[in-house]
């Protein structure tokens, strides 16, 4: 009898916790998704409806006019896509190679300088020169103002990714490297022929972190690329559409739509959808790699 009542009580507690769990998690998940629905909905809403009723999750008055205007000058959008895609692909390949190579070398117990170099890299997270000297370095000493390299180069590596790679490589027994050395293989050959094929999940994870960083990169682009460059990275392009009316005025002139009829609000949203769409469509398929990277990286800070 006592046993039965206990199991009923246990079940009641399970049910309450389950109820709270589904409720809280479900609600929070919806809150995470809704803003995207809002941006999407607004991008398909006719401008005068927005002016009358404000932004809405569901377009009261469906219109693709904003997208038409965005693609009226396909040069800008396609150029932005091209620049971002080129920087992302190039930067990811280059950055991934350097991160993997460095991570492997620094994880080798027989490498005499590994502590010195690890410290050299780690110290940069503790102390930095700050924005002003960095800005002067890029613009005056390296003369990279309005040069895509100013976006590509600073995003290549980060101490965080090198530490993550070290943590991944640490799971490969050193004996593999040693036996290859006995067979006469050089360090670089071992890295390329043996280590790289064994670390493909790690490479996928780190590559995706780098690629996401480049796709969403806006900070260096805003600092070093001026708004009158024709082909700007996507996020800077989006930023300019949001903050300045220049682009909108240009579109209005070339598309023969009078300025007062320009879909100012819905155009911002349409541009945002165009700039973010690929990431959102792609992300469900690769999120497990990010999860892996976060759990591995967190262990070592």
């Amino acid at each position: 009898m006592e046993n039965v009542s206990r199991s009923i009580r246990t079940n009641a507690a399970e049910r309450v916790v389950g109820f709270i769990g589904y409720g809280v998690i479900g609600l929070f998940s919806i809150c995470c998704l809704l803003p995207f629905v809002l941006v999407l909905g607004t991008s398909f809403t006719a401008e005068n409806t927005i002016q009358k009723y404000g932004f809405n999750f569901w377009p009261k008055d469906f219109s693709t006019f904003a997208y038409k205007i965005v693609f009226e000058n396909p040069d800008y959008v396609i150029g932005a896509y091209g620049v971002t895609a080129a920087i992302t692909i190039l930067g990811t390949i280059l950055g991934l190679f350097v991160v993997a190579m460095t991570g492997y070398a620094l994880q080798r117990p027989d490498f005499s300088y590994r502590n010195n170099i690890s410290f050299l890299i780690y110290f940069t997270t503790l102390f930095s020169g700050g924005l002003v000297p960095f800005y002067l370095l890029i613009t005056q000493y390296l003369s990279l103002k309005d040069n895509y390299l100013a976006v590509l180069l600073p995003g290549l590596l980060s101490p965080f990714l090198i530490i993550m790679m070290k943590a991944f490589v640490a799971s490969i027994p050193h004996a593999i490297t040693e036996s290859a050395k006995i067979d006469g293989a050089g360090d670089f050959t071992i890295f390329v022929r043996l280590i790289l094929p064994m670390t493909t999940p790690a490479l996928a994870t780190i590559g995706l972190f780098i690629a996401l960083g480049y796709w969403n990169e806006w900070y260096h682009a805003m600092l070093f690329l001026s708004a009158d460059m024709k082909y700007r990275p996507l996020q800077l392009f989006l930023y300019n559409v949001i903050t300045s009316a220049d682009f909108i005025r240009n579109s209005s002139a070339s598309s023969n739509v009078p300025l007062r009829d320009m879909p100012l609000e819905s155009m911002k949203m349409a541009t945002a959808i165009v700039a973010t769409g690929p990431v959102i469509l792609f992300f469900p398929f690769v999120q497990r790699y990010f999860i892996k990277g976060i759990t591995v990286g967190a262990v070592k800070g």
């Binding site: 916790v17 803003p35 809002l38 190579m101 460095t102 300088y113 102390f127 002067l136 806006w218 989006l238």
Partner: protein, 321 residues
Amino acid sequence: MQTTESIALKQKTPYAGISRTKKLWNNRTLLLMCSPAILFFIIFAYLPMPGLYLAFIKYNYSDGIFRSMFVGFDNFRFLVINGDLWRLTVNTILYNLAFIILGNVLQIVVAVLLNELRKKWFKKVAQTFMFLPYFISAVLIGLIAYNFLSYDYGILNSVLESLGFNPVKTYSDPHIWPFIIVLVYLWQTTGYGSIVYFAAIMGLDSEIIEAAEIDGANAFKRIIHIIIPWLKPTFIILLLFSLGGILKGNFGLFYNLVGASNTMLFPTTDIIETYVFRSLMNNFNFSMGSAVSLYQSVFGFIIVVSSNWFVKKVSPENSLF
């Protein structure tokens, strides 16, 4: 006698016996493999450091760095007297404290509740949705906030008006911004941050939970007496690490939410990063910006070293150096 001597010699050789050049030569390939990264950090992280000399001069564009007037600590004195340094420090630290404390609490709640869900598909879908905000750029975060907060078209005012309240002028009321910024931060990072805690729960031996169930522990007791204590070390370590970065602000978030010109909001939203950015791009006051950066770096360094010292006491295997 001879044998001990030869042993001593052998033990010495890897260190003292081999000359510096020989050591370099033996490590040449690995050194070469590290050289792109070393070059990268020297150029982008170490070369700018001497530039902090700007903090001690009155930088004048036409004179350049070396012929501008040296003023010692005058820039710092100015920042202290006009109250900027104090305001920036308070804002940056308070925001970070809110981010760290509320963030970790929410992440733990989400991870614990996620672990209680039995329906696999629900778990998967929920995780995907909660992770989504982490993948978008700071620019879009700013736009999303605008969607909710815009005076004329925002959802917030639509809802307020339909309930019979007066609309709020969000973008000119500094008092509500701490709430907005913390809310947006939590929205973006909770799903991402809960992954670490969720992984920690997965590492919990299921036998312990089964044993507790046999002993009659219900779901509440299981959470309070087993899972939460199990997460404590993870929580403490993450807390101490984030305390190390308490003077570092999230520029992208603040800049895209508030903007560079909305001075009305600055009293409650200006952090070190946004101030330095404006002193560079809007006011061209390179020296003042550098002074704030130097202050941030030096104090940040002290905080990291002391929090690391503390981590070493709590759990030596997790200390950074």
